[in-house]
Symmetry: D2
Subunit: 374 residues, 4 copies
């Protein structure tokens, strides 16, 4: 008996479109899921480009009008992978059309948008998910499992950084990600949002934050022009945090950390142990167990590639690593599994909304130069 | 205009079958190749299992008789991913059938078999390839590029280890890989062959070798039985080498290196610099440049994930790593590219044959307790 | 012709007394200095213990009254290595007695004390130094040299942590370091002061800070008693910073980072490169040079043990590491060299005072929950 | 009551003379030993240079005739730190003079010399020691303790390398260490001897070896001359080994490993666990425990700086590292302790002699191109 089909319509075909498409193509080959993904429609504004993307990425067809994708009765899930300024409109319409809404992060460019989106999916009663894919790295999932099992004891500290350097050169042009009207914010929404999600996932809800945003290079060349324009987003954002459970934390995101390409690293210290993760070595988790004998204490370098580890058993034997793209495969596998059993995926748009509350609080803290309670 | 098709028949559906299938599924999505892969037939002896594999892995159909696959006029390439004892017969028949022969390593269980296979493809004039996939890791390809460009100067040393620990437990059963009649040898053929290939690829041809093979656990439980049987392959193999260009080297493979899962590591020292690679961190290459200023010399940790790096530009942005499986994708991309332009893929069965000459020389050195010239 | 003598009187004989004594014993054996250290008097309140220390640590005599040490006309330098609550009184008296004042950090328990001390040495016109010894690790000195030479370009970021775990156990007793009246503060003054000093040394003066202090365990057992007492200092302290030159930074000190013994780590990102230091591997500096060829960029692991490196040439050949204690040897060598040529040592009590201004600003920021300008 | 004195006469004042002098100066300050070291006489052929060394290094007097040092009735220990070609004569004379003989490694330039020396000290019944100082690194001592306690189980593998690069430049001159008549051998005796000692110490006695020696640069400039001369020692030496207990090993020493300054690294794999050590990070031991839970297995990075660790408690608090020089301090502390209780120090000249038997067997293996039994 063939499996029921889960049919996807993907809005957006750039970096995230490529990553999501790969996940849809691959997930049924690695996971024995209750539903079979069908990659029906990919949508973008440039007809030629999106048709080429459909062919390259494995979609049945392309479309230039996202409303037509939403109107397709065969489609079960609308995946929103466009720039942030169009998320809200599409998500609300998709929810109203009764589609499941899977959305890239941050879900909106403002807290108000995020609220609107979360309200819409709740009101419509449709399944919803957010692509906070790093939760799905096996090493992060292992950290979660250990923390949930109490192996780290009471959590005292989280220190998280997400460091990149792709705009450190002042000659780098004023692309859409550097403009508030399209991107909402800079490093803050783009990558701070990831480590905020990891904080919420691994430590718990934030209680209060105090932070600042900074733009090192305030004017940049406008592409295909001799003019310069104003950078309207942050190059870097950093904040201190108190969690509701009493833990404290530091968070920093930057696109100016020269030499750091994708340094999404966190360390969590609990009363019984600690863990360290770095996305650039995403198959590894460092783990310190305070109960080890005094003479033999130290951080262990766990290769999270064993069949006993989260997700890893679906891929290759011990020590054969997986890559960035598999975090999306794992996320889709989990989302499909949840939906097939009538549960909402995790992380959900509620997670996206709560994340945006933290992002927003940091921005308000920046403005008020003081702590903000959540 | 659609691309011409390259149709594959895959013999074998276990670990390597899964890895090769994934490469065939994925390669046209990441590489803009002159031919389109068609995954027609997967073949194995157990009809139910191979049919399930066909469905899971993305093949159009399954087959239990490999001769029928060879007889299919649509099929262009026979991929041999079975245990070593069947390689020779299939390869010779495939060559005689005019098929391209792509074969897992080591290509034969003996040097005589390897010779027979290489003779057969030469006589038939068919394209041939061997799955020495680690050449295709971006970091290894970068090392090759640097060495070929003279950036390491004259090569003095290679030290290579391939360490695993999956049979260190004496209770581990007597599986086919521990029996000479199916596997040919143990760690020697299985993983020493990989680092021998890296030696040939990066340093050059071997001139003489001196080595030994060792079996720590000589009897093991027979699966599904109360009896024990004799282990007839090596648990570990190590040898010294002199290369034709004057470099010297040490090579060691073991399945008893407790704590090492897939530690395929090499270091190459030249007169101008050095490189270090470790498969467990396969997106990284350590590089030492002796021309750096005296005060600022040190091994650089290159993340081989930039668009300027071999293969990496086909995947994700800087710092977003790929995994083990992508070495096969890259290998297939290269093989398709070569065949489309009328060239033979690299590495070829000649590489497989030369590799086996080294494996064989080490075995003879073990027997004679002395150096063996190649 | 014998060298002139520089005669030391050391007040304090615990951890810092041992480290300073070692430096005085060793410095003339490794450095060819213009003056010869004479270790005349060590002083402490417990006559038996301080006499034993004198013998173990290489002093000519012991003393229990620090005023007598100050009254000794032969003594040139008063080294203050007592707990923080006695620094001010001793330093002022030593300055008035015309002695050079070398003091452990933080120089006072309050900003007012630090101001008083700095005023006293200035008024007396005596040489003065503070034991911010980590400036003198060869790798830190190399980082300084590179930054001063412009090799990192404009500095954008510093992120510094000083993590320990020695009081993470709630059963750890209420020692003097956990009481405000003796220690002034907890992790903040003890170890945040070190990374603040590294910030001032490497990046420049602080412009404004925003931080918080936290005590996880508020009551602890009183030693040799059944009672518990209140912890009156912080267990952890963290703050955001803006430097006067436009750089931004994060600083965190904790005694609750389970698994971290002495993790004094910083990363500095500039427009042209970055450096990373970790005291636990204090002979190494990681260095990223953005001008490296695109294909070969990465953090270099410099072993700062070459004769061309700061301090290293005074010790052992390349690759033979030095230890923690040598940071004090280097500091004393520099201080002696400065004094012999009529200059004041660096770092000086002015550095100690400026450091305390930052410590104080963070404490005020904690109280006001907002940014504080310096 | 003052401690009894152990009076030293040191022959040699270069690198090793400096390292040994430092150990003698420092040992009683860090260890509470039953005897007090007295640094009486340092001896060398150049009167001015050795007198300067006496002053710099802390000796009471200098001497140019080593026979006069042996004739001094106050001297208890003759420390031989000269080039290898004078060891034997001095050691035999010292033994005959009733002195304890402490000798640098390798103890002789030939096996015959080593035999003569060992015979002499045995015949004379004097205490004897060899400066295989790396046994005394805390991390190595911890590895020994773990192995001795059975924590690694049955030992299967040792792989050891000692890599340097100080003569990789062909323009490096023909110094005494590159001439057989003074140095005996090259990398083989100088640094292979160290890892052979670690093999004997940690794994056990060698049973048979098979190796080769290699000289990459055969002629070099003669210092202070326009002429070139022939290099008569090896640049690199590598061998395979079988130990009497069934373990197997690889050993490699090189002075041509560009980028490696002092890379004395070993890995030992046993049935229950593994350890890794690297002298360049000599305060660390990596340890893998196969009994860790399946999900949390990995190499632990132990900072061997805890008071519970060998030697470490004599120095500084957790995480405050020691350096290369302290391996000699520890060795002297152990030797003094042994002698004070009437035991012979360990390692002894017997260890030096057994080491030389292995060195000699590798040289014979090189000549015969086959395995040599010990």
């Amino acid at each position: 008996m063939p499996k029921p089909t889960l049919t996807i319509g993907l809005i957006g075909y750039q970096f995230m479109g490529k990553a999501h498409s790969n996940a849809y193509r691959q997930v049924n080959h690695f996971f024995d899921l209750p539903m079979q993904i069908r990659m029906k429609t990919i949508c973008g504004r440039n007809a030629g480009a999106v048709q080429a993307a459909a062919e390259n990425l494995g979609w049945e067809q392309s479309e230039t009008d996202w409303r037509k994708v939403l109107a397709d009765p065969e489609i079960d899930v609308i995946d929103i992978s466009t720039p942030g300024n169009s998320h809200c409109e599409i998500a609300v319409a998709a929810a109203e059309a009764g589609k499941a809404v899977w959305c890239e992060k941050p879900i909106g460019n403002t807290l108000a948008e995020a609220q609107t989106m979360f309200d819409a999916v709740q009101k419509a009663g449709v399944p919803h998910a957010v692509f906070h894919n790093y939760r799905k790295a096996p090493a992060v999932a292992l950290a979660k499992k250990m923390i949930a099992a109490g192996e780290l004891g009471e959590i005292h500290h989280m220190r998280a950084t997400y460091l990149q350097d792709w705009i450190a050169d002042p000659a780098f042009p004023l692309v859409w990600r550097l403009q508030k009207e399209t991107a909402g914010s800079g490093a803050h929404g783009d990558i701070n949002s990831h480590i905020i999600d990891l904080g919420r996932f691994l430590v718990g809800e934030f209680d209060e934050v105090c932070g600042t945003l900074h733009t090192f290079i305030k004017e940049r060349p406008i592409p295909d022009s001799d003019a310069v324009g104003t950078v309207t987003v942050d190059d870097a954002a950093m904040f201190l945090a108190r969690f509701k459970n009493g833990a404290i934390g530091t968070f920093e995101a930057s696109r100016f950390a020269v030499g750091r390409r994708n340094y999404n690293r966190f360390e969590i210290n609990g009363s019984k142990g600690s863990v360290v993760f770095n996305l650039e070595r995403m198959n590894e988790l460092e783990y310190y167990n305070a109960a080890d004998p005094a003479e033999a204490q130290g951080f262990r370098l766990i290769q999270v590639t064993e069949s006993v580890h989260p997700y890893a058993g679906h891929y290759w034997p011990s020590g054969h690593i997986i890559g960035y793209e598999h975090t999306f495969v794992n996320l889709v596998a989990d989302a499909v599994t949840a939906m097939a059993s009538g549960k909402n995926p995790s992380p959900s748009l509620e997670d996206g909304f709560q994340n945006q509350r933290v992002l927003d609080a940091v921005e308000r803290s920046h403005a008020s130069r003081s702590w903000i309670s959540l």
